[in-house]
């Protein structure tokens, strides 16, 4: 009995004092942090910079994705430099990336904003195989690009120390980059912090795939959900006048829509599925695998895409790996098996480094959606003492919450994780 009371007290004390508003991980993931709880930052602008990597050009219908692009938010004086890595499918200047960069800039950093391997621009212009998913290979490509990017902006920034920050897949990649740099020693990163990283790409993708596949079976249901959102927006605008898209408006809209947990799961799964559909199509075209497209057929600039949408037919991330990713890697390494590939796309492949390195830290949540219980346990054991786990926040829901940001900045500046 005493034991139970003790455990209960420990749990209560542990959760005490963390006032991030959404205790439900699905709601947290969808709504993130309300503006009034967010860390302060100004609307700093950034420069878009192009790198000609000569690794491939976009097909005519995807002309707008041609040429590798990254962002720079530079201080006008000497300042620590951090590379910021985006999550799956995120552009370097997505809302989350821009907000995180501004927060880092506000705290005195110059920031190089980079996409990671599942960004469409990256798949087309930066990836040699045009088929991301092999964590080590992807990270090596990103490492090379970081070198080129830094060379390109050298005269625009003054810095002494370099850091890496990344969230979601970007967090995972940040840790692998730490390992690569410990061998290549080009940057000598002072500290690396991974926010809500995934442990195993496939485990996480499977969870997200299932959120849609387990909860929706037909396109009618999808259509009904879409219509429910449209109706919600119509009613919302009717009641509140014109709707400007900001965090507060999206929050009120969700309150109005009154979605249940299954619907929230569908919405999260759907956001990920949109990325998977695009990745399936783009990699198929770029690798000429022929899973959904006919490689011999000429693609035009104003290509009708409906038939390809129909051919991709909501294929998920696992479909991409089976039909395109694995086939592509198999051409490079005949001995490769699916098991080996999955193993290589896990943080376990850099376990020794994770255990030893003293300049790395992980921030995640107890209710993180993209980690299995085993994944979370693995992180706790491996990162012992260099991990901060918040009681709530879902996947990246709380990353701009004041307390989270303060901790991240304290860690980057002073190495303190308390």
């Amino acid at each position: 009995m005493k034991k139970i009371i003790l455990i209960y007290m420990m749990i209560s004390l542990w959760g005490y004092g963390y006032d991030y508003p959404y205790k439900d991980p699905y709601l947290a993931t969808v709504l993130a942090t309300p503006p009034k709880y967010m860390a302060a930052f100004k609307d700093t602008s950034f420069k878009e910079i192009r790198l000609d990597l000569k690794r491939g050009s976009a097909p005519p219908n995807l002309w707008y994705l041609d040429g590798f692009r990254f962002g720079l938010m530079a201080q006008d004086h000497e300042a620590p430099l951090t590379f910021l890595l985006a999550g799956t499918g995120s552009k370097y200047n997505s809302y989350k990336m821009l907000t995180m960069s501004r927060i880092l800039y506000q705290n005195g950093f110059s920031v190089i904003m980079l996409p990671t391997s599942f960004d469409y621009n990256f798949i087309i212009s930066a990836s040699e195989t045009h088929a991301p998913g092999f964590l080590e290979r992807d990270s090596n490509e990103i490492y090379d690009i970081m070198e080129l990017a830094l060379d390109k902006v050298k005269d625009k920034i003054q810095y002494q120390e370099t850091y890496i920050t990344g969230y979601s897949l970007g967090g995972t990649v940040a840790l692998v980059l730490g390992k690569i740099d410990s061998q290549k020693k080009h940057f000598g990163f002072k500290r690396i912090i991974a926010v809500n990283p995934t442990v195993n790409l496939y485990d996480s993708a499977k969870i997200l795939d299932n959120m849609l596949d387990d909860n929706i079976k037909t396109e009618e249901e999808l259509d009904q959900l879409l219509q429910k959102i449209i109706v919600g927006i119509m009613e919302y605008t009717q009641e509140n006048g014109k709707m400007t898209i900001d965090e507060a408006a999206i929050y009120s809209l969700f309150k109005h829509l009154n979605m249940n947990e299954d619907e929230l799961k569908i919405l999260i799964g759907l956001a990920f599925r949109f990325v998977s559909i695009d990745v399936n199509y783009i990699t198929d075209v770029m690798t000429k695998t022929g899973a959904y497209t006919d490689p011999s057929k000429k693609i035009t600039k104003f290509q009708n895409m409906s038939e390809y949408y129909s051919a991709v037919n909501y294929s998920n991330f696992q479909n991409y790996i089976e039909r395109i990713g694995f086939k592509t890697y198999k051409k490079l390494d005949k001995t490769l098996t699916m098991e080996k590939m999955i193993e290589n796309s896990s943080l376990k492949s850099v376990e020794d480094y994770l255990k030893d390195a003293q300049n790395i830290a992980v921030v995640t949540n107890e209710d993180e959606l993209i980690l299995t219980p085993d994944n979370l346990e693995y992180l706790k054991e491996t990162m012992a003492g260099r991990i901060k786990i918040y009681p709530s926040g879902g996947h990246c829901g709380n990353m701009f919450y004041k307390e989270n940001v303060n901790l991240m900045i304290r860690y980057l500046k002073r190495g303190e994780l308390k």
Partner: protein, 270 residues
């Protein structure tokens, strides 16, 4: 996630058929907590559509009556360039130089000019509420609201109830026709495009404030419409090809058609 909402908002901002109150009973999607404080808010429901399949068969959610698709895609591309080189710089300067209060006033002014048109459409569809709302809003906002710069009518609980010629035609059974991307304006369909054109041609007789003078001063009228367009563009947080997805044209079309479908079916049942 945000992309989905931006896209949907685009649909509402990009066409003339915005913000019509649509009434249909038995809507179980609502939590109804808004009905107490505003009886003018009416419910909207989804439409039934059962010819779609996921996974088990071929997807056909993207099927649409779009016979001019090759042309539409080219206009979509043209609109991107027009937007990039003209609309956005102008709209950004507009936002930079004029504070929000003034921009709201500009928006209110143009909305007020539309009230008589709503009222006339109300007469055509025999909906006394629309007529009453249109006339009273126009009267209040033109007088107390200083030629429409302030939306006083909404403050006194007469919210906007915009009904377009497109809605009227839909009620009288005119089909929407093929999907169109209009140069400069974006997603539309034949019926909607015809309605926009007719409303523009009839701008002078439909304008009691005499802002428009008719065909004699076409350029002056077009300039005024241009200001309205700049104001509208400044409120839309969307850029062509910004979603990055290869299926952007299809997603925009799907959302436009669904939004219109919901609107039309709600209006018909009203």
């Amino acid at each position: 996630m945000k992309k989905v909402f931006i896209l949907i908002t685009l649909i509402f901002m990009g066409c003339s058929n915005v913000k019509v109150a649509e009434k249909i009973p038995n809507n179980n999607n609502n939590n109804n907590n808004n009905n107490n404080n505003n009886n003018n808010i009416e419910k909207i429901t989804v439409t039934e559509n059962f010819n779609l399949h996921l996974n088990g068969g071929n997807s056909n959610i993207m099927n649409a009556y779009d016979p001019f698709e090759p042309l539409n895609r080219r206009i979509y591309y043209f609109n991107y360039h027009f937007d990039y080189w003209v609309s956005l710089p102008v709209s950004n300067s507009y936002k930079f130089f004029l504070p929000q209060t003034i921009r709201t006033g500009v928006g209110n002014f143009f909305n007020n000019l539309y009230e008589p048109i709503s009222a006339i459409n109300g007469v055509l569809i025999l909906d006394y509420k629309t007529v009453f709302t249109g006339i009273s809003r126009f009267f209040i906002n033109t007088t107390v609201g200083v030629v429409g710069l302030f939306d006083v009518a909404t403050l006194v609980k007469i919210p906007e109830h915009k009904v377009t010629l497109n809605d009227t035609l839909a009620i009288y059974g005119v089909k929407d026709g093929p999907y169109l991307i209009l140069p400069f304006l974006g997603p539309s369909d034949l019926r909607n495009a015809g309605s926009l054109l007719t409303t523009f041609v009839l701008r002078a007789p439909l304008d009691p404030l005499n802002v428009y003078a008719g065909s004699d001063t076409l350029w002056k009228d077009l300039t005024i419409k241009g200001v309205e367009a700049v104001d509208l563009r400044s409120q839309v947080d969307f850029q062509y090809y910004s979603l990055g997805t290869p299926f952007e044209y299809e997603y925009v079309r799907l959302l436009y058609l669904r939004a219109m479908e919901i609107r039309t079916s709600n209006i018909k049942e009203n």
